[in-house]
Symmetry: C2
Subunit: 135 residues, 2 copies
């Protein structure tokens, strides 16, 4: 998905595009590294010295509620965020800690057993060692 005007995109999703919100969202679409709150804060506070970590928390929570970002829980002690809301898989390398994206076609997965359930979110992730860390 291409987002040309971030402020307009936020407005279209019922979010008032404050300066901080625009900057946080821009960070997410320009850095597809599935950052944590702390990563977003540390990266932005250099350019926005008055930025508060609470604002980053509030902003990401708002984005998630409005469904313009995805919350990724792979480790129990690190919540990551992703502006790519399409259904896709994640691979977390246990060595370099990097989280990779990969396409996954879940249409082939048999969900007959829960066919009467309403599915709102799909999450598919793997853990292991990435190509680079195998040597």
């Amino acid at each position: 998905m291409e987002i040309e005007n971030v402020a307009q995109y936020l407005k279209n999703n019922g979010i008032k595009p404050s300066y901080q919100r625009v900057r946080v969202f821009e960070y997410l679409i320009n850095n597809k590294n599935h950052p944590t709150v702390d990563t977003v804060f540390k990266e932005l506070v250099g350019e926005i010295p008055t930025l508060s970590k609470t604002t980053v928390y509030n902003t990401l929570k708002l984005f998630a509620k409005k469904n313009i970002i995805i919350v990724i829980n792979i480790e129990d002690n690190e919540t990551r965020y992703d502006a790519d809301t399409s259904v896709h898989g994640h691979f977390k390398c246990e060595k370099c800690r990097k989280v990779y994206d990969f396409d996954v076609d879940l249409s082939k997965v048999d969900l007959k057993k829960i066919s009467n359930f309403i599915i709102n979110e799909y999450h598919f992730y793997l853990k292991g060692i990435c190509e680079k860390c195998r040597e």
Copy 2:
């Protein structure tokens, strides 16, 4: 998987079968409800009044390290545990909070893009509304 003798099963996996460890593991195989640390503790402390929550933390961490249980991270604020170590899917109901098991055949999923990665763990979970909560 059927486990007849829990103490022996723990031994076979390199775990000394202390009373507390046996009771925690028995709880997990008798209650396939994907409990949190707190749930396990609250359920067992009634029968084992001297039980410490730290012991539950230590025990579950040990079990996970020895690969006889799976750690489930669906919400960022609740870590759950599962004695069923087979590859299977989880569905969390956003209304009643229950976590359901379902069979999932991941052999049909195309993982070509990460074919050079070493995969150690598969996690597939969905969120939504369960059959009962739909009314």
